[in-house]
């Protein structure tokens, strides 16, 4: 175990002396120390399974997803550039006609997440403020389980709800003839990120030390002023972490989005009324139907998605490590 290092540190500074009992005392506990060490290794191994899983998934997705761009494979060598810059997704049975462009999906994913953040984050943060700062205990006791329940509803049901309620409503007000649209995706996603944003913001607000609030109130600031000028700024990095996790959820959400997005086969969305095809739905939509190059291209879409998630995670660990300072 690690104490030993310190023991060495200490013994190095001293000349050796002879101690009675030394050997006996130490050997009795050899067995125990070995067992402790072995069990620690078991704990470590368990913790390492997470690392192994991430590595396996990453390697596997990249292995499958990068194949179409490598010249090694027969009928392949699809240009990576046309993949990431392409504006059309037409996986034809006839490989020569096939077009696999994901740029418009990348835009779709980014727009949709951004919209969800713009709508969902203020509502979420304010709700969190309500629960953490303003609500009487009894009311908080109702709102909080409500938020948890919102988090527990499977995304498929959000999709069914979106298709049954949100899409028709948008259709009525949209200048276009269909309700499947960027806006529908944004709304569904903003609802779905609410629980993430609320729970994490609430936790962040609650961890703001009481003495900040007291300091402000004691200066004659009102409760609301205190919230907006002291509490929220102090909880900033925690809330930001919630937002990043929310973006992660929005980018990664599949089943609900698929039903309300419209999933067109080309076209960068130019307004919120346009249908979009986010990256995730592209994968889920066609995975059952794809073979060969088409299937590999879906994995390649997964690679793009993966890169997004990695970037988000790096951002998140930046934020949290900054918060830890």
């Amino acid at each position: 175990m690690d104490y030993n290092e310190k023991i060495h540190a200490i013994s190095r500074t001293r000349e050796k002396r002879v101690y009675k009992n030394k050997s006996k005392d130490m050997s009795v506990n050899k067995k125990r120390d070995v067992m402790e060490a072995v069990i620690e290794k078991i704990f470590l191994l368990s913790a390492f399974i997470a690392v192994i899983s991430v590595a396996a998934i990453t390697i596997f997705v990249f292995y499958k997803g990068l194949q179409p761009f490598l010249p090694v494979r027969e009928a392949s060598g699809y240009s990576f550039w046309s993949f990431v810059s392409g504006l059309e997704w037409k996986p034809s049975g006839n490989i020569d006609n096939a077009k696999f462009g994901v740029l418009y999906m990348i835009f779709g994913s980014i727009f949709a997440s951004a919209g969800a953040i713009v709508i969902g984050v203020p509502i979420g943060v304010f709700t969190a403020v309500f629960i953490a700062e303003l609500a009487p205990k009894k009311v908080a006791k109702i709102v909080q389980p409500a938020v948890e329940l919102l988090a527990g509803i499977p995304s498929v049901l959000y999709g069914v709800f979106g298709l049954g309620v949100i899409v028709p409503k948008i259709m009525r007000i949209s200048p276009q003839s269909q309700g499947q649209s960027l806006l529908a995706v944004m709304i569904v996603l903003s609802i779905m990120i609410l629980p993430t944003v609320i729970t994490i913001s609430e936790a962040a607000i609650r961890t703001v030390p009481k003495h900040y609030r007291e300091g402000s109130l004691a200066l004659g600031a009102s409760k609301i002023t205190t919230i907006f000028k002291v509490t929220l700024p102090a909880a900033k990095s925690g809330i930001l972490a919630g937002v990043v996790l929310g973006i992660g959820r929005a980018i990664g959400e599949t089943m609900a989005v698929m039903l309300v997005a419209g999933n067109p086969e080309s076209g960068i969305p130019t307004s919120i009324w346009d249908p979009v095809r986010p990256l995730t739905t592209n994968i889920a939509l066609e995975m059952g139907y794809a073979t060969g190059l088409h299937q590999d291209m879906l994995f390649a879409t997964g690679v793009i998605l993966f890169l997004f998630i990695i970037i988000l995670n790096l951002a998140l660990s930046k934020i949290t490590s900054k918060a830890g300072e």
């Binding site: 175990m1 067992m35 402790e36 620690e40 078991i42 704990f43 368990s46 913790a47 390492f48 399974i49 997470a50 690392v51 899983s53 998934i57 596997f60 997705v61 499958k64 509502i123 979420g124 304010f126 709700t127 403020v129 309500f130 303003l134 709102v143 389980p145 948890e148 329940l149 527990g152 509803i153 499977p154 995304s155 498929v156 049901l157 069914v160 709800f161 049954g164 309620v165 609410l194 609320i198 009102s222 609301i224 002023t225 996790l245 990664g252 959400e253 599949t254 089943m255 039903l259 995730t280 994968i283 889920a284 995975m287 994995f299 997964g302 998605l305 993966f306 998630i309 995670n313 660990s317």
Partner: protein, 372 residues
């Protein structure tokens, strides 16, 4: 800030909360409203697919009754519905149809609601009730073609249960041990950062990617087929960060004075973990487990590609099956059967609600016990 601005901000906060809660009520209302008509006891207890069998039944001496549809020698009353199917409306208490056998000689008891489609090789679909009555009456023994209607979620409930149990059996020990490592052993450094980064990444990977991975790795490469085990293994990876994070929270919440108290008495690290730390972390661990159950129940994309879509009661870990959520997705997508999807959704939401409440109660109870 002036009083006016104060109040404005306050109203915005209230409004946001109302929007949040309102959305929840709207969604749940929508799902319940569309699904509730399906829900009753048979919905929960019957199969999803209808099932047809040939059932051998002895004849008997039934009551002397003359109503149309009463088959005296079977002791049952038949009725017909709008679609023309003939179904068993009531069964006499001493009826022999309760002691039938199917062609595999397994006991089969005909129940109310079962459809009678024929006798021997004669089909009765296009006949009137009178014709059927006279056709059926007076045989000495029968082989009836019986179809038991489906549209129930029983197999999915069982499948969901299986997947919950198996994934937890895999993920819970690993997750808890990892959390113990991270809080009790790990020293800050590269290794810890790596493990943390890994768990955070796992939490961020969309489930469709897990699905792809599970499908190619477990289903095809490891040759598990669409199966409970492939689904559960995939889910276990998804659950790891949930369990690790939650368990870690509860471990971190244990005051250091307990650790010092124990170590100060000459207990080893392991003894301290076993005797002082784990007993105190149990509420948190239970909550972690319950939250993961919720996650399993809600999962669709990953399970769809690994455990499949079949509505069947799995007979082993290597047979596949659809969970409730997967089935809800499947019926919505394939049949456009929104009512069925919402009915399953209603069951799911009630389950999740119960689980959430359970988590609350458990953590409260155990916290209180700990505080005593």
């Amino acid at each position: 800030m002036g009083v006016l601005k104060d109040n404005l901000l306050k109203y915005i906060i209230y409004l946001s909360t109302i929007v949040t809660v309102g959305i929840l009520i709207y969604i749940i209302g929508f799902i319940f409203y569309n699904g509730i008509s399906h829900i009753n006891l048979t919905f929960l207890t019957s199969n999803f697919d209808s099932q047809t069998q040939f059932i051998k039944v002895e004849s008997m001496e039934g009551n002397m009754r003359n109503d149309i549809g009463y088959i005296q020698s079977l002791g049952i009353v038949l009725e017909q519905n709008e679609e023309g199917s003939t179904y068993v409306a009531s069964i006499d208490s001493n009826s022999t149809v309760k002691n039938g056998f199917n062609r595999a000689n397994k006991a089969f008891s005909i129940k109310r609601g079962d459809e009678i489609q024929g006798i021997g090789d004669t089909r009765i679909e296009s006949m009137s009730l009178e014709e059927i009555t006279s056709l059926l009456e007076g045989h000495s023994n029968y082989e009836l073609r019986v179809s038991r209607p489906g549209d129930g979620v029983y197999p999915m409930i069982i499948t969901t249960l299986y997947i919950v149990l198996v994934s937890l059996a895999i993920a819970a020990p690993i997750g808890i041990l990892s959390a113990i490592y991270l809080t009790e052993y790990a020293k800050p450094g590269k290794l810890l950062r790596l493990i943390r980064f890994a768990t955070e990444s796992l939490a961020g990977i969309p489930s469709i990617i897990y699905g792809l991975f599970g499908m190619i790795f477990f289903v095809i490469t490891l040759n598990m087929g669409y199966s409970i085990i492939a689904g559960a293994l995939t889910l276990s990876i998804i659950l790891l960060p949930v369990i690790i994070r939650q368990t870690e929270e509860s471990l971190k919440a244990i005051p250091n004075v307990y650790r010092e108290g124990s170590l100060g008495l000459g207990a080893t690290q392991l003894q301290t973990i076993r005797k002082v730390i784990l007993p105190n972390a149990i509420p948190g661990i239970l909550v972690a487990v319950i939250l993961s159950i919720g996650r399993i129940i809600g999962e669709s994309a990953a399970l769809l590609l690994t455990a499949g879509t079949v509505a069947r009661i799995p007979d082993s870990l290597s047979s596949g099956g659809a969970s409730l959520t997967v089935k809800a997705y499947h019926v919505a997508k394939e049949e456009g059967n929104i009512a069925m999807a919402c009915a399953i959704g209603t069951v799911i939401i009630l389950l999740i609600f119960t689980l959430n409440m359970l988590a609350k109660i458990i953590s409260k109870k155990l916290n209180r016990a700990a505080a005593k």
